[in-house]
Point group: C2
Chain length 107, copies 2
């Protein structure tokens, strides 16, 4: 996992923040499957993810339309359903527009 190499703004993102339940059966497998699947979606620009007490996943997109397509992807919808039923005690999804960015890189 590295920092996403995103284009010049504006672009869009989904900030998905979650807490896991004690029932983690199947979670890692599904998370890996979704990570593979999202990379092939139209308009996908990159992803960043980390988990400690909470998990934060930020996926970057070229448009709101691409975010909607991903939300409605059949396999992703199944993952969302299982997440709500089993894996998460709480989550929040925020749809955002990146207006400005900057940084530095010694890597």
């Amino acid at each position: 996992m590295s920092i996403a190499n995103t284009p010049v703004p504006p672009y869009y993102a989904v900030i998905f923040t979650s807490k896991l339940s004690d029932n983690c059966i199947g979670y890692d497998e599904m998370a890996n499957k979704m990570t593979d699947l999202v990379k092939n979606q139209k308009g996908f620009l990159g992803m960043e993810s980390a988990r400690e007490n909470i998990g934060i996943t930020v996926s970057y997109w070229d448009s709101i339309s691409s975010i909607k397509n991903w939300k409605n992807n059949i396999e992703h919808k199944q993952a969302q359903k299982l997440g709500k039923e089993k894996w998460y005690t709480t989550y929040k999804t925020r749809i955002v527009k990146i207006e400005h960015d900057y940084g530095f890189n010694l890597d």
Copy 2:
């Protein structure tokens, strides 16, 4: 650390993604100091943070103006300088507008 209890959109956020260098002397102390300091800033709405291979910190704000004030806070500027000089090999700061959010909570 829990999921930030943010208001109805629109509101704003800073997504700060980073990788740490091998020189971590003073980092935890400064991170804790900044976490305390940010909570008292005008327009601060909440924060979410997690670190694995990369660190992701999302701070939420009522306006771009509040984000600018925080960026220019004297103590925060000193932390930014040390971060760039010592603690980070790379980082990216993204200023975003939250347009839409949803979630669920069993906690």
